[in-house]
């Protein structure tokens, strides 16, 4: 995982995301879809190179 992962998670946990039904939900540590989605968004926005990852890869940072 990129060295910016901790910052990405910290940012993600302050965000909301739109779930598959279109509802806006707060991102939490126990929500794999929301957390991974927003961490990816952070990487993209900050031009951080990353490989395929899942919620399991984020757990050590939580």
């Amino acid at each position: 995982m990129p060295r910016e992962t901790s910052q990405a998670i910290e940012w993600a946990l302050q965000q909301q995301y739109k779930d598959i039904l279109g509802d806006m939900l707060p991102v939490t540590k126990t929500d794999p879809m929301g957390l991974s989605t927003k961490v990816r968004e952070y990487f993209n926005s900050n031009n951080i190179t990353y490989a395929t990852f899942s919620y399991e890869d984020l757990k050590p940072y939580l």
Partner: protein
């Protein structure tokens, strides 16, 4: 693993402390540590009552729907195959898979069924294409063999175009045995 039991008479309730030695309560109930099913107990040669598991940690009670996370929040960035082994040994037969895809590309998901030590190369049914922004349920309606028992299964996810945003999650639902 910890199991709680219910009975109309508390004296009948007991648990072994390991998976080998049965527990003998004062009233004669013998319950193995891993005995999760409803069990009739004998007292003085007469069947007197049932004991029944009512709760469990780190596992599932029999005949309750169990949810197994196959993969959660997978942010795919390439066109490689991503393979996940699923322990389905505690599910009796019929099972379904819920796939939620928020990747910005279609994901193709193929399932395989097998034993605890090997998985066949032939898939169960055809691959399911899950469009971007879609949630689908794959089950016995898609492939008859999804109703068969397997010790383990495998899910393989591929995207023909590398996604640049979103994630995909798969969960398995089935009735515990």
């Amino acid at each position: 693993m910890a199991i709680s039991y219910w009975s109309t008479k508390a004296d009948y309730i007991g648990l072994s402390t390991d998976d080998k030695t049965p527990y003998n309560s004062q009233e004669g109930a013998i319950i193995y540590y891993t005995d999760l099913k409803k069990k009739q107990i004998n007292h003085g040669g007469v069947w007197v009552d049932y004991v029944e598991a009512t709760s469990i940690t780190n596992g599932s009670l029999p005949n309750q729907v169990q949810e197994i996370t196959v993969v959660a929040g997978l942010a795919i960035t390439d066109t490689s195959s991503h393979s996940y082994v699923i322990n389905t040994s505690t599910i009796g037969g019929r099972k379904s898979f819920i796939i939620v895809n928020t990747l910005n590309q279609t994901a193709s998901v193929t399932f395989y069924g097998g034993t605890a030590t090997s998985l066949p190369s032939s898939p169960l049914g055809s691959a399911t294409n899950v469009l971007s922004g879609a949630a689908v349920v794959v089950g016995s309606n898609n492939a008859v063999s999804f109703g068969d028992p397997y010790s383990q299964m495998r899910a393989v996810i591929t995207c023909s175009t590398a996604p640049t945003s979103g994630v995909i999650s798969i969960t398995c639902e089935g009735v515990s045995i």
